[in-house]
């Protein structure tokens, strides 16, 4: 039993931290602030992504292992690094698991160099939680597939240059058994995008329409009709959210600093017993969320991750995030609804943007209700 990283991993963590601390400053920081003013919380800078790719950090998962990839992801979340990473990591894992040697050679390098950036084309207007009911079709035509259909609520659809698209390739079998995954170039003829502004979190969400989009058969990832299973496995990675653990740790630290430096009636807010108690409570929850997520990371180094581990990690983390947003607003009171750029806004309006983004946390990537189903049925073995 060991509740810390190895010395080598600690060195890597320190190196990443030093790099982000140094590089995320000056012009880049100003650019990030401008993105935040435009309500882009998870900004991605292609130049910065390329710099990280050159250091080999986007491929840590393949060159070193899942723990190292996670150390990088937590660091980039903590420092709010504008890097395309999480979705690329998910698709990389699918290709590594199910792709041919040629596909690995062709795509993995591009995913870890920042050349290919990804949005996840799973959800449709008619299916989210019941994802296997998706109706987007892909029909083989020679050495191409022709895709028709629509994806919705797709994060990063306005910025990513590729989508991993789940499409039905067989209608004669039960719904889980006729789905395939395609890596689609967003510049392909027939792809059209419509922005779908959301209340918060991300300004690059939208819908994407596929009208007779022709995709090379080479871009079919894994076996035809087995996409659902790859997708389910990839959830193990999608639901490991150490990047968001880093973001939450940062938020707590900023709130601690804020309450120590802010005085009301000549007394720092940090003397208020309510504030001390509620921040300690959130800190404990963030620690549990961190442990849940690193338990999944640890399990992934040993074999298939029990599905309920990642459901617990992601659901508990996201619900904690909502409570943390509420706590930030309670601490700031009347000041908390002030937006970034406003006179009197504390912490650059982060309480406002965090709180406004919060409802999405327990929906995106699997609702809390679906996660609890997974925990109950797969984790506790309860009957369906």
């Amino acid at each position: 039993m060991r509740f810390r990283f190895t010395e080598e991993q600690e060195r890597l963590k320190q190196e990443i931290k030093d790099y982000f601390r140094r590089e995320i400053s000056g012009e880049l920081l100003e650019w990030l602030e401008r993105q935040r003013e435009k309500d882009v919380l998870l900004a991605e800078s292609p130049e910065f992504t390329h710099k990280l790719a050159e250091k080999g950090w986007l491929g840590l998962q393949y060159s070193h292992g899942f723990q190292e990839g996670s150390i990088f992801e937590e660091g980039s979340g903590y420092w709010r690094a504008p890097v395309a990473y999480h979705n690329e990591r998910i698709v990389g894992a699918i290709i590594q698991r199910a792709g041919t040697e040629e596909q690995k050679e062709h795509f993995l390098a591009k995913l870890t160099s920042g050349e290919i950036t990804i949005c996840l084309g799973y959800t449709e207007p008619g299916c989210g939680s019941d994802l296997a009911a998706l109706v987007t079709r892909a029909v083989q035509d020679g050495d191409e597939y022709v895709i028709n259909g629509q994806k919705a609520y797709t994060t990063a659809v306005l910025t990513a240059n590729h989508a991993i698209v789940a499409a039905r390739t067989n209608t004669e079998v039960p719904k889980h058994k006729g789905i395939s995954l395609f890596l689609v170039d967003m510049k392909s003829p027939g792809v059209s995008i419509r922005p779908l502004p959301m209340m918060g979190w991300s300004a690059d969400t939208g819908e994407v329409f596929f009208d007779d989009v022709r995709v090379p058969a080479f871009n079919l990832i894994g076996e035809k009709d087995r996409g659902w299973y790859y997708l389910a496995e990839a959830m193990d990675i999608q639901r490991v959210r150490v990047g968001e653990v880093g973001m939450q740790r940062r938020m707590i630290e900023e709130l601690v600093k804020f309450v120590k430096e802010t005085e009301i009636d000549g007394e720092p807010l940090s003397n208020d017993p309510f504030i001390r108690d509620v921040l300690a409570e959130r800190a404990i929850e963030v620690e549990v969320a961190r442990l849940f997520n690193y338990r999944s990371v640890w399990a992934a180094t040993k074999g298939p991750v029990p599905p309920h581990y990642t459901s617990m990690g992601t659901m508990y983390l996201r619900e904690t995030s909502q409570r943390l947003a509420q706590t930030a607003t309670e601490i700031m009171g009347l000041y908390s609804p002030l937006k970034i750029g406003s006179k009197w806004a504390y912490l650059r309006g982060s309480a406002e943007s965090w709180y406004r983004a919060a409802p999405a946390y327990t929906i995106a990537g699997g609702t809390s209700e679906i996660q609890r189903n997974v925990i109950a049925i797969r984790g506790l073995g309860l009957p369906t």
Binding site: D277, I284, L380, G381
Partner: protein
């Protein structure tokens, strides 16, 4: 990060669990609840023979030389079975204090006896103010020749009714801070002037059995001071940390047991033509219980591992106790809800765990107290 137990630890856990299942059925727990002692002297002897009393003592003092993780595993299993014993009071609060700050002579004399099961101890710490802070120590010890004379009142002292010795926390002087001027005394529990009154409480087994202990002109030889005069708080804080994690491990075991009971029951109990465990309202409740239990497991073993490694962990210990106390209380209440009226019957084990969870929630500091420590450690 590595969350696996070593092979030896897995073997030890299996052995402890088998012992508890065989020797400590809940019927025995209920019998012992009715007893004055609140534990079984026969089973105490048995676990002494197994080496579980001296588990963490070095071999030269009759111990097994195990580390703190071994102790956590043992408490996990004792908690699962609600094993009623004065282990926490005798071994951790008493024995570990002697190990931490006793003289070589005190260690040689007392630790082997504790390990053999011949000596029961407890820690007389809290007072009617019911606080685990140095400022709350009002009991006074004044020097008179070769002795100290102790006067004061201790409350919520676990297992004092059966203890041979008490480690009494008393004020011997005034310092610049409340920590200064506190001294630990090893007191023969049968010294004239000591009066012990067991308290009627929600759970009266093992260390839940609590007493009021009054000291009226109790004379203690100077050589019975444990550690340094006026500097008793620092070693005591360390022992409180250890005992807190042991308690957390015990709660983890109990919480896991009631969750398993709930899952099994909900698979078998049929209502509206289906097992009740197939209803989402119950599934989601049990998913929440698993969050509570696994969170408790991770925080507790993290703290236990850090104690074993000797790294500072006041924050992690406080986090573990704050979370685990709440988790145990909520999980035991949910378990009764899932079992319905049946789960509320005294003869059903859910009620044993429910009462126990309330008793340990406050022992060694309740969640609010623990969060005060967390806030302090966060720099607030």
């Amino acid at each position: 990060m590595d969350l696996d137990f070593s092979e030896e630890q897995v073997m030890f856990r299996t052995m402890a669990r088998d012992f508890m299942v065989k020797e400590c059925p809940s019927t025995l727990v209920r019998e012992l609840e009715e007893s004055e002692e609140g534990y079984s002297p026969q089973l105490w002897r048995r676990i002494a023979d197994l080496g579980w009393l001296g588990l963490t003592f070095p071999e030269e003092y009759g111990g097994a030389g195990g580390d703190f993780l071994d102790l956590a595993i043992l408490y996990d299993e004792m908690g699962r079975a609600i094993f009623p014993s004065p282990h926490l009071a005798t071994v951790v609060l008493g024995g570990h204090t002697i190990l931490e700050c006793g003289t070589e002579e005190q260690k040689q004399e007392l630790l082997p006896k504790i390990a053999r099961g011949d000596l029961l101890l407890s820690l007389a710490l809290t007072e009617p103010s019911a606080r685990y802070e140095p400022i709350a120590i009002a009991t006074k010890a004044s020097a008179q020749g070769e002795e100290y004379v102790i006067n004061g009142s201790k409350l919520f002292v676990p297992n004092a009714n059966i203890a041979d010795y008490l480690v009494c926390v008393a004020r011997t002087g005034d310092g610049a801070t409340p920590e200064e001027g506190i001294t630990l005394f090893l007191v023969d529990a049968h010294t004239p002037g000591i009066a012990c009154t067991p308290l009627k409480t929600i759970s009266e087994i093992g260390h839940d059995k609590q007493c009021e202990v009054t000291f009226k002109d109790v004379r203690v030889p100077k050589k019975n001071i444990l550690g340094k005069l006026n500097q008793g708080w620092a070693p005591l804080a360390k022992i409180i940390n250890q005992a807190t994690v042991a308690l957390c491990a015990e709660m983890v075991g109990g919480a896991q047991a009631v969750l398993e009971m709930s899952v099994e029951y909900s698979k078998e109990r049929v209502a509206f033509g289906r097992p009740i465990g197939s209803f989402q309202s119950l599934q989601h409740k049990m998913a929440n219980m698993l969050i509570e239990v696994d969170g408790a497991w991770l925080l507790t073993y993290q703290a236990a591992w850090m104690i074993g490694e000797g790294t500072p962990c006041a924050k992690q210990v406080a986090m573990a106790k704050a979370w685990t106390s709440n988790a145990y209380r909520r999980v035991t209440a949910d378990a009764i809800q899932i079992h319905g009226a049946y789960g509320f019957c005294s003869e059903v084990d859910t009620t044993l765990y429910y009462r126990r969870a309330k008793a340990v929630e406050f022992a060694l500091g309740d969640p609010r107290f623990q969060r005060r420590i967390v806030a302090r450690e966060m720099g607030l």
